[in-house]
C-alpha cells in the first residue's frame, strides 16, 4: 500500500519534506519511523490524515502521516 509521509522542522534534516512510499499492509506509524531512523522520542507529534495518532496506529492505503519534533509558538 502507499503512504504519504511528511516530515517537518528538524526531522527534515538529511531526509526529505514529503514522499509517497510503499509499505506492507498493516504497517504501523512506528514502522514509518523505523524506516527513516526517526527515534520515537524525537517525534513529539504524529498526525494521520490530520488527526492525532499513536505509534501503534495501523495505516491504510492512501494515508498521510505527518511527523513533527517538539514545536511551539503563539
Amino acid at each position: 500500500m502507499q503512504v504519504n509521509v511528511k516530515l517537518f522542522a528538524s526531522l527534515r534534516e538529511g531526509r526529505f519534506k514529503t514522499e509517497v512510499v510503499d509499505f506492507d499492509s498493516n504497517s504501523r506509524v512506528i514502522d514509518v519511523m523505523n524506516k527513516y531512523e526517526l527515534p520515537p522520542e524525537e517525534v513529539a507529534i504524529c498526525l494521520v490524515n490530520g488527526r492525532d495518532a499513536d505509534n501503534e496506529h495501523v495505516l491504510q492505503n492512501g494515508d498521510t502521516v505527518s511527523l513533527f519534533p517538539p514545536v511551539g509558538g503563539g
Binding site: K6, F8, A9, S10, R12, K17, A44, I45, L47, G50, R51, D52, S66, F68, P69, P70, V71, G72, G73, G74
Partner: protein, 574 residues
C-alpha cells in the same frame, strides 16, 4: 516604588506613592486594576475620561529570564471593553529600574497641539512636539536614539495612532532599535487621542529594583531560567524556527484558517512556513534568532532581510504571516514581510489589519491572494488616512458595515487569530470568553490541543475544552501580571519545579508567603476585575459568542462550532 501620573488636560505631572492594594500587582493585573478603578466603563474610549496605563510586570528588571514584557491598558476603542496589550522591547525594564510601578496618562489637552513625554528619575517632562508629526515609528525611534543615545527607551505611535484608528498600536523600541508592539485593541488611538506622539525613557540613576531576599531570589531564578532552556520548545524549537513553525502543523491538523475561515488548510502553506522562513533568512544573511528584550533566553524573534540582503522586518510572527498569508490566500513571504514592515511603521496591528483585508476581499475591493494590493492599500489608504483608509483602519466590523459584508471573523470586534475554532476547539472557547476580545494569547489552548504540551485534549471534540481554556486563562492572567513572556508556559506546564520557582521568586522579591493558590487567585481576580468592567461598559453574554458562520462545516474534518451559550457562560464562573 511609585506611580507617575501625567494629566494632559492640565499638562501636569504628579508622583504618587503606590497604594497597598497595588503593591503585589504588576503588568496586566495592575493596568486592569487601575483602569477598573479610575475609568468610567461607559466612557468614550477616545474621550478625556479614558486613561492610558503602562506597567512593567512584578519581575521586571530582575534576573528572572523573560520577565521584561510591558503591559499597556485602557478602555479599548476596538472592543468597547477593557484592554491589556502586551509587548516586548526595552520599556518595561526601564520603568522598573526607575522604580515606576505604573505610568498613568489621563485627560486630553485643549487646543490642537501635539506633545511628547520624557520619563526619567525625577518625573515626566511634557514637551510640545512638531518635528515628528506625520512620521512613521522607525523614524521616531531613529531620531530619538540619535537625540538621547542608544540607551533610551521609546514608545511611539505611527500615522494610524495620530488618526485615532481602532487598529492603531503602540510601538516599543527593542534592544536592536527595531519594533515590538502592544498590538491589539487600538491603544495607539488612545495615545493619539491624548495627542502624545511618543514617550522616551531615560533610566539613568533610577532607584533600582528592591528584592527582599536576594539569595533566595537568585536560587529560584536559576531554576526558572534553566527550566526554560531545557524544555525542547522554548530551548530549541522557538530559537531556531520562531513562531512561524506553526504554519505547517496547523495546516496538517486542518486548523489553519484559510480564505477568511472557509477552509482549515492552505495550498500555499509550505511557502510561508517557518521552515521556509528559516532557509530564507539564512540564505540572505539575516538573523534567525534574537530576543525582544534583555534577559530573554528563548529568543523567538528574528531579522528578515530582503532579496538584496537589506533589513526588511523583525519580530515576524506566525499570526502576522497566517493573517496576510492563509487568511487572505497570499503565499508570498516577501510581500508579507513588506506588509509587516509597513504595519510596524504606520503602527497598526497586523492581525486586525489582515481582518480588514479579508473583509475588503469579501467586498471585492481586492482579489483574493493579492499581496501587492494589500501593501498598496496599507501604504496609500491607511497611512494617508483617506476615507477608505479610515474605514479599513477602524477594523473588520467597521469595514464590514461600510461594505455590507457579514462574514467577519471577530469576537468583540477583534479578529480571531491563526487557529480555527472548529478544528482547535479549546482556542475557540478562549476567543469567545476572554474579556479581551478574540485573543489567542489569553488562554493558549493550542498547547494541549495541538502541541501536546501540558497533556493532550483532542482538538476536534468538545470534551475537556472548557476546563482547559478556563485554567489557561487564569494562569495567563497571572503570568501577564508577572511580566513574563507567554512562552515560559511551555516549561511551566510540563515542569513542576519551574512553576514553583515563580512562586519562590515572588516570595523572595516581595517578602510574602504565597502558595500556589495565591498565585492562581491573582489570575482569577484579574479576570473578575476585567469581566466586571466589561459588564459595566455594556458588554453582555451575547458578546461572548463566535461569529454565526462558525456553524458551517470546516474542511477537511468537516467539524462545526457546537458549544452552547450556556456552556460558554460557564467558562469564567469561579
Amino acid at each position: 516604588m511609585k506611580i507617575y501620573r501625567v494629566n494632559m488636560s492640565k499638562l501636569s505631572f504628579t508622583m504618587e506613592a503606590v497604594p497597598e492594594e497595588w503593591r503585589l500587582l504588576g503588568g496586566r493585573g495592575l493596568t486592569s486594576a487601575i483602569v477598573a478603578k479610575e475609568v468610567e466603563p461607559t466612557c468614550n474610549a477616545l474621550g478625556s475620561k479614558n486613561k492610558l496605563v503602562f506597567a512593567p510586570g512584578l519581575f521586571a528588571g530582575t534576573m528572572a529570564a523573560n520577565s521584561g514584557r510591558l503591559s499597556v491598558g485602557a478602555k479599548s476603542p476596538l472592543t468597547g471593553g477593557i484592554k491589556e496589550s502586551n509587548s516586548g522591547g526595552t520599556a518595561a525594564q526601564r520603568l522598573a529600574k526607575l522604580g515606576v510601578k505604573a505610568l498613568i496618562i489621563e485627560g486630553i489637552p485643549e487646543g490642537d497641539k501635539w506633545y511628547c513625554l520624557h520619563v526619567h528619575k525625577d518625573g515626566v517632562e511634557i514637551k510640545e512636539e512638531n518635528e515628528l508629526l506625520g512620521k512613521g515609528n522607525y523614524e521616531v525611534i531613529h531620531t530619538m536614539t540619535s537625540r538621547y543615545g542608544e540607551n533610551t527607551g521609546v514608545m511611539t505611535i505611527g500615522q494610524a495612532g495620530e488618526h485615532k484608528m481602532s487598529l492603531a498600536n503602540i510601538s516599543v523600541k527593542d534592544p536592536k532599535g527595531h519594533i515590538r508592539s502592544a498590538g491589539r485593541g487600538g491603544l495607539g488611538a488612545v495615545m493619539g487621542s491624548k495627542r502624545i506622539k511618543f514617550i522616551t525613557l531615560d533610566d539613568n540613576d533610577g532607584a533600582g529594583i528592591e528584592i527582599k531576599d536576594k539569595e533566595k531570589f537568585k536560587n529560584a531564578a536559576q531554576v526558572f531560567n534553566k527550566g526554560l532552556l531545557s524544555h525542547p520548545v522554548s530551548g530549541q524549537a522557538l530559537p531556531r524556527y520562531g513562531t512561524d513553525v506553526l504554519v505547517n502543523i496547523l495546516n496538517e491538523a486542518g486548523g489553519l484558517p484559510t480564505k477568511n475561515y472557509r477552509y482549515g488548510q492552505f495550498e500555499g502553506a509550505e511557502n510561508i512556513s517557518g521552515e521556509t522562513m528559516y532557509d530564507t533568512i539564512m540564505s540572505r544573511d539575516g538573523d534567525p534568532t534574537h530576543g525582544c528584550h534583555v534577559g530573554c533566553v528563548i529568543r523567538c524573534s528574528q531579522t528578515y532581510n530582503d532579496k538584496d540582503k537589506r533589513y526588511l522586518t523583525s519580530g515576524f510572527e506566525y499570526e502576522t504571516i497566517w493573517a496576510f498569508g492563509a487568511g487572505c490566500t497570499c503565499d508570498d513571504l516577501d510581500v508579507i514581510a513588506h506588509i509587516d514592515h509597513e504595519c510596524d511603521d504606520i503602527g497598526i496591528d497586523t492581525i486586525d489589519t489582515a481582518g480588514s483585508m479579508m473583509v475588503a476581499m469579501e467586498a471585492g475591493l481586492l482579489p483574493w491572494g493579492d499581496g501587492e494590493g494589500m501593501l498598496r492599500m496599507i501604504k496609500e489608504e491607511i497611512k494617508e488616512a483617506t476615507p477608505l483608509g479610515r474605514i479599513l483602519g477602524n477594523g473588520p466590523n467597521f469595514t464590514g458595515k461600510a461594505f455590507g459584508v457579514t462574514r467577519i471573523g471577530t469576537v468583540k470586534g477583534q479578529t480571531m487569530p491563526a487557529y480555527e475554532p472548529r478544528a482547535v476547539k479549546g482556542i475557540g472557547i478562549t476567543y469567545a470568553t476572554t474579556p479581551m476580545g478574540a485573543d489567542h494569547t489569553a488562554g493558549y489552548s493550542v498547547t494541549a490541543n495541538i502541541l501536546k504540551v501540558g497533556g493532550h485534549i483532542d482538538p476536534l471534540k468538545k470534551e475537556g475544552q472548557i476546563e482547559l481554556s478556563r485554567n489557561l486563562q487564569i494562569a495567563t492572567a497571572s503570568l501577564d501580571s508577572a511580566g513574563l513572556c507567554i512562552f515560559v508556559a511551555f516549561a511551566v506546564l510540563d515542569y513542576e519545579p519551574v512553576s514553583h520557582a515563580i512562586i519562590d521568586m515572588i516570595n523572595a522579591q516581595y517578602g510574602v508567603n504565597w502558595s500556589v493558590d495565591d498565585w492562581f487567585n491573582l489570575g482569577r481576580s484579574v479576570l473578575k476585575t476585567e469581566m466586571e468592567f466589561n459588564r459595566a461598559a455594556g458588554l453582555t453574554e451575547k458578546d461572548d459568542r463566535l461569529p454565526e458562520f462558525m456553524e458551517e462545516q470546516l474542511p477537511p474534518h468537516n467539524t462545526v462550532w457546537d458549544f452552547t451559550g450556556e456552556e460558554l457562560d460557564s467558562v469564567l464562573q469561579f
